[in-house]
């Protein structure tokens, strides 16, 4: 199954190389990885999505912990968390089809961030399901370019909860 790891690391040069290098030499596959600094400029937060069974995850977790720059690892997969991904999509849009595309943008609560003579560039955030659905809806129009940030995630403010609440929040956003 897919696991979402929230990894706090020292914001030092080379820390990304250390983490990425560990994944490759121990044979762990990264599904996605997003990294940026936290409210504390000395600390960065990585959200890493990996696929594997519990034993695989345990070993990955322990190996990551051996890196001196890794401060804290939380496997938040089974906890209640909020996750988001931001995607930019440039889609072919001649005058005749623009209205149709803008309708889709409305339905998915996406935003048009750039308008070209023959294209529209759309920003959409959400979880994997929503983004995939949106991508599929746009495909018939002709996707020229697509870029995803990778998922970022955060535990909810309360402990008890279930994945259902995640999904509910998703629909509202």
């Amino acid at each position: 199954m897919k696991h979402t790891l929230a990894v706090e690391v020292e914001n030092t040069p080379g820390v990304l190389a250390r983490v990425a290098g560990l994944f490759s030499r121990r044979g762990f596959n990264i599904d996605s990885l997003a990294v940026g600094r936290t409210d504390n400029p000395a600390v960065s937060r990585m959200t890493i999505v990996v696929e594997g069974d519990d034993r695989y995850l345990e070993q990955l977790n322990k190996q990551l912990h051996k890196l001196v720059d890794v401060i804290k690892i939380s496997d938040i997969t089974r906890d209640a968390y909020v996750d988001r991904e931001l995607v930019l999509i440039k889609v072919s849009a001649d005058a005749a089809r623009r209205a149709e595309i803008m309708q889709l943008v409305d339905i998915f609560r996406a935003r048009i961030v750039d308008v070209g003579p023959k294209t529209l560039t759309i920003e959409v955030t959400g979880n994997d399901g929503k983004i995939t659905a949106f991508e599929e809806s746009l495909r018939p129009f002709g996707i020229k370019e697509l870029v995803r940030t990778g998922k970022i995630a955060m535990l909810r403010g309360f402990k008890a909860g279930s994945k259902n609440i995640n999904n509910k929040e998703e629909e509202e956003s």
């Binding site: 020292e10 034993r55 070993q59 051996k66």
Partner: protein
């Protein structure tokens, strides 16, 4: 105010001295010159090697023999890359080492400057941690952290890459602060629940076996291990790295296990109902086929590194912590459990399947090793290269004391033994040091003989010369239809070579000359290289074929 200004290089050396380091091993070069200039006035003893790989192995040998961190120093580019094998070797065998490399100036970094190599990048998978110094103000703190990381928890090598303009810059020296590494927890607390569970499993066990690794030696837990074994009357088998961690002459000792282990050790693994792994990591040379390893046993695994637990095999009772501390806590709650039937079975195996070799008219390598043991009364420090001679040493030299056997286990580095012997002799000046070598391995760092002569280090090199890369030849004989592809060696005249370096060279071609030659070497107080012309096609036996179960031993 009015603090003294020091150069970066001076601060580097001052910080190293603050870690109670009195000896370093190194080789100068352009980008390390500011450090070498400061070394000229420093109280630190510097041993000049002849190749950076030798320098790294010498620091490694020094660290293994003394338990203190080994420090090596090299210049940028090729100097740094030549350290790489030595760093990897220290990493695989958990040796505390601090490697310092010169680097091109900060402004030249990333421009493919002369003798520039991204050594922090190159060594990333083989260091415990590394630093590229970007600011001279950080230097003192970095050195303090580096030694702390190298020597605590599971020890390992730490690299500090110092651009030459950092070494040259003059700044006010400030004492380093407290170490703050929120991501580094070297010594986890032992969970009392795990100790209880282990004690429970031990109490129920009818056929316990202790499998001890290098962690026993590193943690200094040999006395605790002895107590544990005697309290339970449990047989003890050691890994290559664990040899010396338990007295080789003890009746409970089974010798080494695994690929070239004794039959009785491997039978004990197959038959035991409880395997107590102490500071060992279930290497594939130990386990053979994983699926059939210790098939009847519950497994207790004691290790300081949580990542070793469950890495290769399923563990029933993990105990994470320093081996010495864990064994101490375990001993406090254990009750004697002397199971006689198991001990008798083991003794019967020992009688039935002893280690043996057939005497021929020629010199047997095993015999030479036994005589080194006899003549030094087991008190020598032994290093080895890698190959048949190494395995025979593990089998036929009876190691009784920790840190008496210094060998490249994990990485299996040919060329380790000679420079390591130099490091050992520097660390233990009054002891007899032997490098037991093969004619192939010895040529990989033979230039270090000059270092031994240079510093009047009376090491003894015993070459077991069979004119082959012996272990390669053995595998070709056993697994490749005797197709001896590129394993036969044309060798130099080792006696002349020794003499050319200024050492004593002795050639031994007859069995009766073995003991006199060894006596002469031990007495000489000079570096000596003895070329023992041994039986050419002897094999290391028993052998578990690669990937087979431990009970499928041949020989």
């Amino acid at each position: 105010m009015g603090a003294v200004k020091l150069s970066g290089a001076e601060i580097l050396l001052k910080s190293i001295e603050a870690e109670e380091v009195d000896t370093i091993f190194g080789y100068p070069g352009g980008m390390a010159l500011p450090i070498y200039d400061a070394l000229y006035d420093s109280g630190i003893r510097h041993i000049l090697g002849r190749h950076e790989q030798g320098v790294a192995h010498a620091a490694d040998g020094y660290a293994r023999a003394t338990g203190k961190p080994g420090v090596c120093l090299a210049t940028s580019g090729p100097g740094a890359t030549n350290l790489v094998t030595g760093i990897a070797n220290a990493f695989m065998d958990s040796v505390p080492m601090v490697a310092i490399t010169g680097q091109v100036t900060r402004s030249s970094l990333g421009r493919d400057s002369f003798q520039e190599a991204d050594i922090t990048g190159i060594t990333m998978p083989i260091v415990k941690h590394s630093y590229l110094v970007k600011n001279p103000d950080e230097l003192a703190q970095i050195v303090k952290e580096a030694f702390y990381i190298a020597t605590t928890g599971r020890p390992g090598p730490v690299l500090i890459d110092v651009p030459s303009d950092i070494s040259l810059s003059r700044i006010e020296y400030r004492q380093p602060g407290e170490i703050s590494l929120p991501g580094y927890k070297p010594a986890p607390d032992v969970e009392p629940k795990q100790i209880e569970e282990a004690a429970g499993a031990i109490a129920c066990s009818k056929r316990p076996l202790i499998y001890a690794g290098g962690g026993v030696v590193i943690s200094g837990a040999h006395n605790e291990l002895l107590k544990l074994a005697e309290m339970l009357a449990a047989p003890v088998t050691c890994t290559l790295m664990g040899l010396g961690g338990f007295p080789g002459t003890h009746p409970l000792f089974l010798g080494m296990l695994g690929m070239h282990g004794t039959k009785f050790a491997n039978f004990a693994v197959c038959e035991c109902d409880l395997l107590i792994a102490v500071g060992a990591r279930f290497d594939n040379r130990v386990t053979g086929k994983l699926e059939t390893f210790a098939p009847k046993a519950k497994v207790i695994h004691i290790d300081i590194d949580p990542a070793e637990i469950g890495k290769n095999i399923r563990v029933d009772i993990p105990i994470v912590g320093d081996v010495k501390k864990v064994l101490g806590q375990l001993l406090a709650v254990l009750k004697p459990n002397l199971e006689d039937a198991w001990r008798q079975k083991i003794q019967a195996w020992k009688k039935e399947y002893p280690l043996k070799y057939c005497d021929s008219g020629n010199i047997k390598p095993q015999y030479v090793i036994q005589e080194i043991y006899n003549l030094t009364e087991g008190n020598a420090r032994i290093t080895t290269e890698v190959g048949q001679h190494q395995m025979w040493t593990a089998q036929y030299y009876t190691f009784n004391k920790p840190r008496s056997f210094i060998t490249s286990g994990g990485l299996g580095t040919m060329g380790f033994g000679l420079p390591a012997a130099i490091g050992v002799q520097v660390g233990c000046p009054d002891e007899v040091v032997f490098d037991i070598a093969g004619d192939g391995s010895i040529q990989m760092n033979i230039q270090e003989l000059c270092t031994a002569v240079n510093y009047e280090l009376p090491i003894n090199v015993a070459i077991l010369n069979n004119g082959y890369l012996g272990l390669v030849r053995q595998w070709q004989e056993m697994f490749y239809n005797r197709r001896y592809s590129h394993s036969e060696l044309i060798n130099p005249d080792f006696v002349k070579l020794a003499e050319a370096y200024g050492a004593v060279g002795i050639r031994v071609t007859k069995k009766e000359e073995v003991v006199p030659a060894l006596k002469r070497a031990i007495k000489s107080k000079k570096p000596v290289m003895i070329d023992f012309i041994v039986d050419r096609e002897d094999n290391v036996l028993p052998i578990v074929p690669p990937g087979e179960s431990l009970d499928k031993m041949l020989g």
